[in-house]
Subunit: 498 residues, 2 copies
């Protein structure tokens, strides 16, 4: 009964496990690119290593515990090991049943993932390890306005290899940029129209983030992805690992959103568009530079990996000039504001390219999927790390069945194939100031969990699918609230054996 | 294959079946109430009789056809009868198989309901039989503004006995009033917030329906219902046929919406509230008169049936004065605008009370459910008749499972119990000017149909559930577009016998 509903619960245990030593940049590197923020790279690396290590220790620790299951003081020793090496408590009722049915490793694994996730969340919302300070966030908002935009709304693919897009790949403040992920980056046009409407109304009524008479626009960005080293297998699953298809679909969806706004609202209503492609091997991006009407080409883009190479020997100001020139060369009609925005994204990405060179030998060892869990629902602001979560933004499983199916297929390869269950975090954020919103978030959580267990009933019956139900008052800045999990239920016959 | 996709299809057959003679007001009546619009009553009655008769003829005609199924020229004679008496064509492939498996009456019944529904829709959107002319609609909009409101948004219960609420019970122009039905009138607060936001933005950007500086409000109305003659059985199913519970839940939902707007938006944002109760025996309403803050009481209301009795001997102006006094007596603090609005609803309802007295002997013979089909999705502007449709406003079956379950249970009593299938019309309206909106409406239709067939698989396998898939460009004023139906598929073994 680890995941009983507990509101505003104070956690007694803190995130105490020892952080691993941070690996220093590889020795053979000459020097960083002149525009790279090395201090930030070090900081981001420390965080990534620490979190990844905590998830990475689960399997070795459970293996060790498994080997002890016939010893006399098994329960006590297991808890001791879990506390020391994972910093968590394992569900006692599972350990205590080990002598009867054997140890239910599937339940222990899911419980460990959920508990590590819980601690990771608490750390994120309490210590703000990836936050830029409010001043830098304010500067970015100011910069956005100067470029002619009042809101930046990014839809990356739901693929876990893009989960770090905002904070790492583009080096943007995650609290200022809106992110909604969809399989294939195929965002929901009606949902985006709704967000546009809300944004406009706030500008009119409350002058937030700026007043409606300012000639700024809503900037919608699509981020598709591809793998340069293995384009036909490790690209975007939703587009059959076809880069041209992924980019074409992204542009079409952007145009559809733009036309929807222009046709539905009068008085020159429109939005600005931008599309980037991410090489998931090394996080280098392409930017498809738009003309003033938002028109872009699938084939024509600037390639930041090339820019990195071409400008690494220059002075910072020369490198900048070079980038500016390249953007204008690619699309001479680009607006001044859009060019500045792209320049900023390019420079942010140079740091990330350097990051991957420094800490991952220039290309990730996990070029394929290696996510720890699936996240579904609305929220997940804390997920800013690569290959940690396959995330599908959804209100109902019915509407997002394709997105969830893609995730479950990925985890059948990653986990089920080696006998481990698929951990799914069902999460609904709500606005605490709206009466009944918390109750409705709970209802959504329960409903979506039921729908998942129904849809993947066969996996569930074999103990290969577990769900954690989580809500969060996103207005409060508070930690998450755990409602419960499928581990709370009675141990079923089929699901009881490891 | 009657329901192949056919866009902008011109229908060759017109709505030619003979209208039944309209019954004249019962002889024993002395005279109408002084405020009753007798001409409108006659017009509304003509329409109701005509439509109800067309659905009512289905079973007798199919009985007749059934008795012919072993005759030589069965197919030709059946079609002849269907054309003459129902004005429709029956699906030939079903008739032609009759000599092999026996006549599949379930398919014939569903096909007939769907075809009559199709014709009824075409008539509605082509001839506008219930429309008030644009001038009267404009007058009502003007009146709404004068009362201090810029939009009237009614959420009645999904119960088919309230489907005629807007045009009949309250005598309002259905194109001007927004209606979204939910089981128990428990409307979705988030959906309503979204509509409020859209409405405000149009006021700010386009000055529609009035400019944002006008001190008018969004008026949200809840309509619960009860049965005076059989309160414990024929009341609202969603509230266990408990009138106090239904009214209490309605008030709570209204307050929640109001607080949500007040807490989410600054600068004095608020909405106006109103709740009415409908006695489904005779359509007489109660109005819970609100104070200026929208506060209402479950126990305190004005009762229009009583008003009808108390004022029927007066002159029109005396009756009006009487009504005004009663409203103020009930809630002395009521605003001038709200009092005027309530007066208008009361006077509209007096006509409806008279209508039921004139044409239904003062109380409906079908005091219980007698719907012809279930309608689910978004749209159904054409459904303005009592007890014709159980309607659930929904985006997904997953979210609205309770609403749909209530409807299916009603139809298990109405249809399944006598061997007839449950006909469900799945409908999604869309805005044609939004690119891709039609394609997405089609996707919604297909998805919801699939979800229904999954959820009620047992009924489907027995041939007891059929779905029609329909979309409509609601911006165009055009007729509906039929995408297909479950009757198109191959005849299954289980579902093939009547």
């Amino acid at each position: 009964m680890m995941y009983q509903a507990r509101r505003n619960r104070q956690r007694s245990l803190t995130w105490t496990m020892p952080a691993p030593a941070v690996s220093t940049p590889l020795a053979h590197r000459a020097r960083a690119h002149p525009l790279v923020d090395e201090a930030e790279n070090l900081h981001l690396r420390e965080y990534e290593s620490r979190v990844k290590a905590s998830f990475g220790r689960i399997v070795p620790v459970l293996r060790k515990i498994s080997s002890l299951q016939h010893e006399e003081d098994f329960v006590a020793r297991s808890q001791e090991i879990a506390r020391q090496e994972l910093g968590i408590e394992l569900p006692a009722h599972v350990l205590e049943r080990a002598w009867i049915d054997g140890l239910d490793m599937r339940r222990l694994f899911a419980a460990s993932v959920f508990e590590i996730y819980h601690r990771f969340c608490d750390d994120f919302f309490r210590s703000d390890p990836l936050g830029m300070d409010r001043q830098r966030e304010g500067e970015f908002e100011q910069f956005l306005h100067e470029c002619g935009f009042h809101l930046m709304d990014i839809s990356p693919c739901a693929d876990g290899r893009l989960a770090h897009l905002v904070r790492y790949v583009l080096r943007l403040p995650y609290r200022v940029v809106r992110r909604k992920s969809y399989a294939g980056a195929l965002f929901d046009v009606e949902d985006s129209i709704q967000k546009w409407v809300e944004t406009e109304l706030l500008r009119y009524r409350e002058g937030r983030p700026n007043t409606a008479d300012m000639p700024t626009r809503y900037l919608k960005v699509v981020a598709y992805h591809f793998s340069e080293s293995d384009p036909h297998h490790e690209g975007c699953a939703a587009h059959g690992s076809n880069t041209v298809k992924a980019a074409t679909a992204g542009i079409e969806r952007l145009y559809a959103f733009q036309r929807a706004i222009e046709n539905s609202f009068c008085c020159g209503a429109s939005i600005s568009l931008l599309m980037i492609g991410v090489n998931t091997d090394n996080d280098a991006i392409r930017v498809h530079v738009p003309d003033p009407d938002g028109q872009m080409s699938v084939e024509r883009f600037i390639d930041v990996a090339q820019i990195y190479g071409a400008t690494s020997g220059l002075s910072p100001s020369e490198a900048r000039q070079n980038i500016t020139a390249l953007i204008r060369e690619q699309q001479p009609a680009v607006t001044e504001g859009m060019a500045r925005m792209i320049e900023r994204l390019v420079i942010g990405n140079l740091s990330q390219i350097d990051y991957v060179r420094s800490y991952h030998g220039g290309g990730y060892s996990d070029i394929g999927h290696a996510e720890q869990f699936i996240g579904v629902g609305i929220g997940f602001e804390e997920i800013q790390l690569r290959n940690m979560t396959y995330f599908a933004y959804l209100r109902t499983v019915e509407e997002a069945a394709t997105d969830v199916d893609v995730g479950v297929r990925i985890f059948q390869r990653l986990n089920t194939s080696r006998g481990l269950p698929i951990p799914i975090v069902v999460r609904f954020d709500y606005h605490g100031q709206v009466p009944g919103a918390r109750e409705r978030a709970i209802e959504h959580c329960e409903r979506v969990s039921r729908a998942l267990h129904e849809r993947y009933g066969e996996l569930e019956r074999r103990g290969l699918l577990h769900t954690l139900r989580v809500i969060r008052d996103c207005g409060s800045g508070d930690v998450i609230e755990i409602l419960g999990s499928s581990l709370d239920g009675p141990v079923t016959i089929d699901g009881s054996g490891a």
